[in-house]
């Protein structure tokens, strides 16, 4: 059934800038997340947060140098990974979490979902997990109808994949040959349940796409370059008008489902292995250095740039005022 997308990647195929963009985006995603967790611990951010630490390769790899501003994404509820990779300003994301008017919702607040940035193709997200599977066929239909070559990339977890809308979505996408790239972020767990306890699959979740005649494969989502190439094929297929692709990207959560989750349902050995041996940033950094693409110092400089950007973003978000109570009456209707 689903084939494993595996091949040697060659860093020489990429410009140094592109390679460093992958790196810096991943670092930015992780730092954003770490600092957000700090803000939560400081009591500055409410609601529940689902950390995306450990899956940065999947988002950076699929988006950076694959998607344009006018391509659409429906992000997943885990971390702000895809939003950051798609270029949503960090201050706006922090603003959403803090509920200040700097946020994309101008003070209504947004947690892990409901940030939006249509100018960058970030069309928002639903609180009912997996609902993006239905909505994405609409944005893709729109591009196709208007004769553009815009692509819609939809992210969803292994758990969300089990929701009923997947069927309607894959059927429409296959039928109308819609320019959609399905990216199933399979981190093996939906809250406390392992995929093996909740999913009936031949071998892989991607097998579900096969019956629709939709090309599908399983890829190591923590290998940023491989992820990039797998997605690139799918994006190009979509742009050529050849329809959807289903990618199951394997990864793992470094933290619990939400901040505060005891995370005691996971085998500590397994978790340790993912953290130590399969961390997307750590491994990619090692490879960059090993293959002589850049020096430790250069990477350190990139890290510092990120730190500066994040500090500025937090300050900007925090300095912005909370809205007045009248804000809740604004914007229901156009």
């Amino acid at each position: 059934m689903a084939k494993i997308y595996q091949k040697p990647t060659n860093l020489k195929d990429y410009s140094k800038k592109s390679l460093l963009d992958f790196y810096q985006t991943m670092v930015k995603i992780r730092r954003f997340d770490e600092d957000l967790i700090r803000l939560i611990q400081d009591g500055k951010v409410s609601g529940f947060y689902h950390s995306g630490i450990g899956s940065e390769g999947l988002s950076a790899g699929s988006i950076i140098h694959n998607l344009r501003d006018d391509d659409y994404i429906f992000y997943n509820h885990r971390g702000c990974n895809q939003k950051i990779a798609k270029g949503v300003p960090l201050s706006k994301l922090y603003g959403d979490f803090m509920g200040t008017i700097e946020g994309t919702t101008r003070g209504l607040g947004a947690g892990i979902v409901h940030s939006a940035d249509p100018s960058r193709g970030v069309l928002g997200q639903a609180g009912t997990i997996g609902s993006q599977l239905g909505i994405c066929v609409g944005s893709a239909f729109s591009s196709k109808f208007r004769g553009t070559d815009q692509v819609t990339v939809v992210y969803f977890g292994d758990g969300a994949a089990s929701r009923e809308p997947l069927h309607g979505s894959l059927n429409w996408a296959g039928l109308y040959k819609l320019p959609i790239v399905y990216i199933c972020e399979n981190n093996e767990y939906a809250i406390s349940c392992h995929v093996s306890e909740t999913h009936s699959v031949k071998e892989h979740i991607a097998d579900w796409a096969e019956g629709y005649g939709i090309p599908n494969y399983v890829v190591d989502g923590n290998d940023v370059v491989l992820m990039h190439e797998a997605t690139k094929e799918a994006v190009e297929r979509a742009r050529r008008g050849e329809g959807p692709t289903f990618i199951e990207a394997q990864t793992f959560r470094h933290r619990g489902h939400f901040e505060g989750d005891p995370y005691d349902y996971v085998n500590p050995e397994v978790l340790k292995d993912w953290k130590e041996n399969r961390d997307p940033i750590k491994n990619y950094k090692a490879r960059l250095l090993e293959e002589g693409i850049c020096t430790e110092n250069e990477l350190a400089t990139l890290n510092e740039q990120v730190d500066v950007e994040i500090a500025a973003a937090i300050k900007k978000a925090e300095d912005a005022p909370l809205p007045g109570p009248e804000r809740i009456y604004e914007g229901l209707f156009a």
């Binding site: 659409y72 946020g103 994309t104 919702t105 101008r106 209504l108 947004a110 409901h114 940030s115 939006a116 940035d117 249509p118 069309l123 928002g124 639903a126 609180g127 009912t128 609902s131 599977l133 239905g134 909505i135 994405c136 066929v137 609409g138 944005s139 893709a140 239909f141 729109s142 591009s143 109808f145 208007r146 009923e164 809308p165 309607g168 979505s169 059927n171 429409w172 039928l175 604004e330 914007g331 229901l332 209707f333 156009a334």
Partner: protein
Amino acid sequence: MSTISKGEVKVKTITMRDAILEALTEEMERDPSTVLFGEDVGKFGGINGATKGLYEKFGKRVFDTPITESTIVAAALGMAITGGLRPIPELQFGDFVGVAFDEVFHKLGKWRYMHGGQMEIPVTLRLPIGIAGGSGPEHSQSPQAIFMHAPGVQIAVPSTPYDAKGMLKTAIRDNNAVLFFEHKVLYDLKGEVPEGEYLIPLGKADVKREGNDVTIIATALQVHTALDAAKTLAKQGVEAEVIDPRTLAPLDMDTILNSVRKTGRVLIVHEEQKTGGCGAEIAARISEHALFDLQAPIKRIGAPDVPIAQSLYLEQFYRPSEKQIVDTVKELMEY
């Protein structure tokens, strides 16, 4: 279709089905970003015939979908938020809004607001409703009242060809979601519609008959039952004012309250079950804003609070009747 000239304006007498078809045709001609889709809406022309000929006229802008109500509405939302399309989906029966409920109640209604007002939702969802010909508990309902509790959706419930056409055209041009409920019995009802363009604003009730003694607020098919009852009552010396809110959201309380202040007596009639029907909210608002104008209790007539039987014989006992209305008004007049 007969066309007669009334003063300056030419009017013609057509069915509500044709009025809807005219509205769809005119708006699709006017705006190339409109797309119409649903089950069997294309070559087949829709199971109620309300989209007949549109596929032939507009080609790929009219298409049949798989049986996937939830995906149909989700797709409409997705099309709308790209800013590129103005979708006009149809569900074959309004009852099926239940299988697309999250998409309608939570997504069409909230997407714009919850994302900070950054997107527009120009979706008009057409939903045939009502008891008609023994269709049973899941093909006869009038589920519109539920959506009064849904922030962000507008609810249109036309009762005449004239209203249907003018409101549907407005709905399609509106940049917010509109649920457009069409009573199946009304598809064959004929009425006068002027030649040429006109629009009816959403949120403006229509006084279908003036009267000083009692206010009857009725929706959809019940507007006609109420008008029949009003005629009978007139013969008995009771002049009923019949108000059709036309949209439940926005709800034109000004027109309703003005009438109540004049008559002091209120009867609300709708085909959906009495409990939790649109009459509940309307009565509650009257009891808040015009309590001291009332001379009699506020009465509501709706279907019994049980599922609608499939039997053609039994279903007549669900639909509010002229007699029920007349009797209830007489009761009100005794206060």
